[in-house]
């Protein structure tokens, strides 16, 4: 990481600490914002957050490892989360899964070479009456069929 990038990130984290408060209870919100913007929370970011909140970096890392939406390794610019729970499964989740892996040429848990997409499974996301459902970043897509799912990919930047 370049020095000016590090400085920019430090500054960004300082702003977040100001916004949410210099307090342990701000940790998750800070992590969520960094994850959203940088698609992961780098070692350096973890150290900075720990320093500014006055906690041990191991604590920060252990929180990241607990939550499925937070990552210490870089993700793609867009994360696709396909619901794998029973109602979506019965509504045809497997067909969507096959179409997505074929289209992107990667398996679930992987990121495309151009870093555009990461493909993940997720558990029930509260759209069970409109399955199969998936999230791309925070946006929700429901009543998918293979064609629709693939077309949605084309519209993502």
């Amino acid at each position: 990481m370049l020095v000016f990038e590090k400085n920019a990130l430090s500054e960004e984290i300082e702003l977040l600490v100001d916004k949410y408060g210099m307090d342990r209870s701000s940790l998750l919100q800070i992590l969520q914002d960094i994850q959203r913007k940088h698609n992961h929370i780098s070692d350096f970011a973890q150290q900075e957050i720990a320093r500014l909140l006055n906690i041990h970096p191991v604590e920060v890392n252990s929180v990241i490892s607990f939550y499925s939406f937070l990552h210490s390794e870089p993700q793609g610019r867009n994360t696709i989360k396909l619901c794998q729970t029973i109602s979506c499964d019965m509504a045809g989740k497997q067909n969507i899964e096959d179409a997505l892996t074929r289209e992107l040429g990667i398996s679930f848990g992987e990121t495309t070479k151009d870093k555009k997409f990461t493909l993940e499974h997720t558990n029930c996301m509260g759209m069970c009456d409109q399955g199969p459902a998936m999230l791309i970043n925070e946006k929700v897509f429901t009543r998918l069929d293979p064609e629709k799912a693939v077309n949605i990919l084309k519209e993502v930047e």
């Binding site: 209870s25 998750l28 919100q29 939550y67 794998q84 729970t85 558990n123 029930c124 509260g126 929700v140």
Partner: protein
Amino acid sequence: METKLDKIKKRTGPVLFSKYTRGDAIKKVISIPREDVLFELKTSGLKGRGGAGFPTSTKWMLVAASTADKKFIVCNADEGEPGTFKDRVLLMEYPELVFDGMVVAGYTIGAKTGIVYLRGEYEYFLGQLEDYLMKMRDDNLLGKNILGKEGFDFDISIRLGSGAYVCGEETALIESLEGHRGEPRNRPPYPVNTGYLGFPTVVNNVETLSSVPHIMVKGGEWFKQHGTDKSTGSKLFSISGDCEKPGVYELPWGTSLYVLLQLVGAKNTKAVQVGGASGVCIPKNKFDRFLAYEDIATGGSVIIFNESRDMLHVLENFMEFFVEESCGQCTPCRIGNTKLLEGVRKIKSGDYTFGYINTLKDLGKTMQVASKCGLGQSSPNAFISILENFKDEIFFHNGNGSK
């Protein structure tokens, strides 16, 4: 300020989906003493809709009675149980019920701060909720001296989860709000004593809070006229799976599965999973059972399986869910769920003995008593009920066309 929410067409139903004008419950309660609010709530018989069914008035009373400097009301909008989505409908279409309920709680227990813990998966409507809160502030339904009531200050903030089912468990939720891993705590102490940041905290489900404004405006007696003796009021059911009309339905407590299945257009139904992955599987010869705390208590998830479904596949899906979502803190749950999943896969491949199956069922019973929180205590329910009720299909392959 006109928001997107003003344009949503309202549903109809006996209690929750009956008419309510925003702010009405707040106007009503600030003119009466807190004791009267608690009395009305007690009369209503309202019990927690998050699954555990704890009497809401008792919880509020415990926190109201505390003399701590700070108190909190937390709305549990983590809604992660497979097959449930009614809290999403309430938040998106009826925010006036959820938020007015929180304001009434704040007034009654003496809290100045309300926090909504919204699951990360629901971030897509966070902006809409924030807009609604702004509108409430503009109208002095939040903020200082609410509606002119001297000294009644209350505001609500929304915090997002980050994809962990166990954070719906109230003590894990508090850990998460405090910036920790969402690992459930030993109880006692309960959140009503030692909650968020160590202060007395009421944690209520979205639907529980949404019932409160109706009770305040129309009265506890009115509420009690719906439902059964022990299960007063109505319940939202989230219906998914094999039926023509999935969605959210408001029905009085005490409705039988049979009636519910007719209503949603379910045909050739073989089984119904009530209560999500941690609930129980009811086979068709028991569809006369009814939904109520007296019989099948539930947070409202109803997943329907028709004759074409393979129940072992269903069970495998549930066990995969628990293996992924166990926080791993205690051994019965961490190891137990892995063993049960392994068992299901062995049954699937025909590699089992009945001695082994019985050992697994015993393991499930141990998990029910030895696990630290509700996740591990209830995760064997599906395993036990599906293997019991679908023996023929699973072990003798003579179920109704399931293979």
